[in-house]
Amino acid sequence: MTDTRTIIRDGLWTNNVGLVQILGLCPLLAVTGTFINGLGLGLATMATLIASNVTISAIRSLVRPEVRIPVFVLVIASIVTVIELLMSAYLYDLYKVLGIFIPLIVTNCAIIGRAEAFASRHSVLPAFLDGLSMGLGFMLVLVTLGGMREIIGHGTLFSHAHRMFGNLLPDITIVFAGDYQGFLLAVLPPGAFIGLGLIIALKNIIDKRLQARASRVTAAAVPAVQPGH
């Protein structure tokens, strides 16, 4: 039985879909022009991950190994199509922006990857947790990258929130500079690659620091214990 905390830490950090597994790059790089677009695709991907993980875990004892991949693909494709229809029915503005990337969730290797590597070997509850934390980890990368590119590229943050929340929220756009001309590199695809590279580098720096501190702590702890012997 896999420990709950390990599953969550894996999804959010240690084995993050976007930063460590580097899966699902196409939507990751394509839609992160703004924070809200990233959030929209992040939520759709997370919903797909949770639904597919739970379904596949629930049927894992029924599926014969030789047909498991086609069954996974069927399950994932159906879920994504349902999500696409629901989005175009209830979040039409956002759907118009993300439209072509929603069907691409089917081909997001992260989803079939989790189905094969985790959901098909664990019971429903851990599979649900895995889907949730992997999805959340992916979404965090999407919104971080989206936020970065929006601030640098357009000089705003949280613009077009109505696409997602309709009229529930007032306009929460933060404008950093009124007459900002925009920085094109951040808006175009190369900016997405550079941004993702920077985020991965930052994660590696943090990991290295943590590791260094951990080894220093154990080194310090060992002599302290020895006099007691």
Partner: protein, 212 residues
Amino acid sequence: MNYRPVLVSAAFLFLFAVIGSGMVAYTHENTAERIHDNERRALLKSLHELIAPERYDNDIFHDVLYVRDRQLLGTDKPVAVYRARKNGWPVAAVIAAVAPDGYNGSIRLLVAINLDGTLAGVRVVEHRETPGLGDAIETSRSDWILGFRGKSLENPGKEGWKVKRDGGQFDQFTGATITPRAVVKAVHNALLYYRQHGKELFEQHPEAASQS
């Protein structure tokens, strides 16, 4: 050879195909109307920005005619013309023209032309121009497209219907000339089309048009 496991697997796969399609069909059944409604509302919203709702009293969404003119409307496919009328009298026509020569493929427009041949306005429906450069044709990015309002074939004349770099009247964008050039040309062509066919556009009834 034992075929049983193969058949069981096939049956299982089939079962999942049925369940999956069933799920999709059920969702489609329950959302189709809403999706159609959304599309309709989005179009009506752009139409209302171009022609104020109080200027007409007909069901503009259904008072539509499909016309073809590869040269002036930018596409081989039938182009929708929405007709606004008040008390049965023509007020304006909205032509869903296409600018075929954008920087990155076609730009779909709505060109609203008043009965007297002046522009009520132009909006971009769909485009794939470069974000940050060519997308200034969107109203959310800049006011550029609002500048068409009130223009006509006589104002400016033929020479004026170009971007400034080509000696015309319309601004180009910093770093992007192709996009505004394509839009200006498409709007001008739509006006030319209206001059040639304006009368017929209002005469044909939607029923008659769909039969022809």
